[in-house]
Amino acid sequence: MKKNRQNNPLLAVENIHLKFGSRTILKDVNFTIEPGTITVITGKSGSGKTTLLGIISGLLRPNKGKVFYKGKNILKWGDIRRSFYRNKRIGFVFQFFNLLNDYSAFQNIILPTMFNPFAKNAAHHANELIDYLNLKNISSHHPETLSGGERQRIAIARAVINNPDIILADEPTGNLDDESAADINSLFIKLRKENDKAFVIVTHDHRIVESADYHYHLENTELTLQAPAGKKKSETKSSPKKTTAKKVTKKSVKKTAKKATRK
C-alpha cells in the first residue's frame, strides 16, 4: 500500500465515522480498493455494511472522514458531480435486484445510459454486453418473468453498462439458490479478471469470500482486514488466493466450497 502512495488508489476510505442518532454505526473505518480486485465485507445483519456501501457511492454522508476517488474527495462534490460519479464510476448490484418491471431486460440494462449525457452507442454496447454475459435469450423478457439468477445477471449487466471502475454488490446472492449463487459468483470473477474491475461485495456467501482478494469483517462499528494485507497485494491477479481465502473463512461452511471453485 505504501508503494502506491504517489499514484492514488482507485478508492480510499479514510477515518469514517457515522452515527444514526446517538447510535454509532461506523467508527474510524479505513480501507482502499485497487482495480482488478474483489473485496468482500462480512458482518452481522445490522452491523452497517450497507451503510458503508452508501458512503462509498456518495449516497450517504458520514459524520467524519473522507472518501477519495482517484485522490479526489467525493464528499466535497455537489449533487450533479456525485450523481455523475455514481452513474459513470460505480455499478450497483442489490440483493433484491431492483429491476424496473415496466421495462424489458434490455431496457433495464440500458437504463443507466439514459442518465449519462456522454453515453455513445448505448444500444450497441448493451448488445455486446448481452452477448458477453449470455443474456441473449432473455433480453426481451420482463423481469417478473425471469428467475432470480437471471434477474441478477440482468442487474449485473446494468451495473457495468456504463463501464464503471467499481462495482458495489450488497448481498448479491442472498436471495438466490445455490446454483444461481455460484453462477453469479463466477460472473464476478470473470468480470474482475477480464475487465480489471474492482468489486466490493457485501456477503455471507463463503464461496464469494473464498474467491475474494481481500476480506474485511465489520463488527461493533469496526472494520478489520481478515488476512495479512502485504501478502495479498502481490497475489492480486494470480490464483493461489484460495489458500488465504480458506484461512480467512474458517468459520464458514466448508461443504459447498467445491462448487464455488469449480469454474
Binding site: T50, L53, G54, S57, L59, L60, D79, I80, S83, F84, Y85, R86, N87, K88, F92, F94, F96, N98, L100, D102, Y103, Q107, I110, L111, P112, T113, M114, F115, N116, A119, K120, N121, A122, A123, R158, N162, D170
Partner: protein, 443 residues
Amino acid sequence: MIHLLRSIYYGLRSSFKSILTAFLSSFGILFIITFLIIYLSFRTSIRDFIDENLLGSLEIDEIEILPLNEKDDNVYAASSRQGAKLTIDQVKAVREMDDFLEVYTLIMLDYRVRLRGEMFGNRTSMILPFFAIEPEFFRNKMPDWEQFYYKPGRPVKMIAPKFTLVMLNNYLYFNGLPQFKIKDLKGFPMEIQIETKRPPRSIPGAEINESKDESKTHTELEVSMFNFTNITERIGAIVPMDFVTYFAKKAEVSSGRWKRGYQYLQFFARVKDIKKLPETVDKLEKLGLQVKSDRGIADKANQVMKIIDAFSITIIGILVLLTIVSIFNANLNVVYLMSHKFSLTRILGVTKIRIILTFIFEAAIVGAIYGIIGYYAGNYLFSYAADYISGFLPDIAGVKFVAQRNTEVFMLSMGLSALVSAASALVPAIFASNINLFKAVRR
C-alpha cells in the same frame, strides 16, 4: 441522435403511468379554465354593452360645457329658442382657455327651418330646430367626416339624432315596411326651407321665394342624409358649421344689419389632461357654466366591473388554491408510490435537478392539456348559458354574448393551467429529489 430519441422514448414511457395519475388529480384545473373562459366571455360582453349603451359616444377625455341654467331634463327647452344659451363673453372665455386640446361649438340656427321629405310616397314636413357643429368634431366618430363640409351648390349634409332612426324603423315595422340601417339612409335626399325676413344674396343651388307681404322669404335647399348620432339628446338636425356661417352671412348682409343668425348652445371639448379636470371644471363654473362628462358614468361602470372582477378573481383564486392542494396531494402520493423508483434512479446516477425538472415538465404538460380541454369546455358552456340567460331575462337581451374564442385566450388558458399544474408539482418534485436515497438499497 438515436440515443437521444431512445432517452425521450423511455422518458415518456416512464412518465406515462404517473401522467395518468396526475390527470385524474388535475381535474380541478378543468374547472379553473372553464370558469375563466366563462368569466372572460361574460366580462367582455358586459363591457361592450356598457361601452355602447351607457357611455354614450363621448370619449373619456371629452366633456360637454353647457350654460348653468340648462335643465338636464327639459329636452324641449334645450332644443328650443327658449332654452339657455351661452353668452358671447362665455364663448370668448372658453375659447381662450388653454385647458383644451380641441373645442367645438354647437350652435342653433336663429331661423325657422322646415324639413320636407318623401318616403314610400308619403310627403311629410315639419318645423325642426337646426344645429350646427364643426365637421372636425366628428373626426374620431365618423370615418367619412371630411365629406361633411358644405360645398356651395351641393346638397347640405345633415346628421340626425339616432333615436329618429329608431322611431322611423318602429313606424316602418308597424306598417309592414322594411326597416333601415344607417347605411341604407346615407344620401337620402330631403329639402329644407329656411325662413328669413329679407331674401339672402344668391346661393348656388338654392331657390329663393319672397312671400307676397314681403315680410318673409323662403330659401329652399336640398339636403342629404349624412349619418346618425347620439352625441346630443337635443331634438333637431345637425348641419355643418361652415354652411351656417355661409348662409347667415348671405342672409344678414342682405338685411343691411349685422346679426349672427345663430345662438351658441354648448361646447364639446377635449381636455389636455384628464387629471386636471377638476380645476377645469372650477374655472368653467366660475364662468357660470356647467360640465357634463362620461367620466362619472365611466367611473361607475369601472367600479362595477371592478367588483365583478374582484369577485371572479376571488373565485378563480379559490379554485386555483383548491386545485393546487389536490394536485399537490396527488403528487405526494405519486412520490410515495414511486419512491422506490426515484431512489433507484438516483442510485443509478440521476441528478436532483433532473428529477425536479422531469416532474414539473410532466405536470406542465398535463396542465396544458387540461387548459385546452377547459378552453373548449368553457366556450361550450358559455354559449349554452348565454342562450339560456338571454331567453330568460329579456332585459339584458341587448347584451351581445360573444364567446371568447381567440388565440390570446387560448394561450392564456393553456399557460395558466400549465402554470398551476407545474406550481403544484414543485414541492412534491423537491420531495422526490430528496427521497431517502438508500431506500432501494435497503430493501
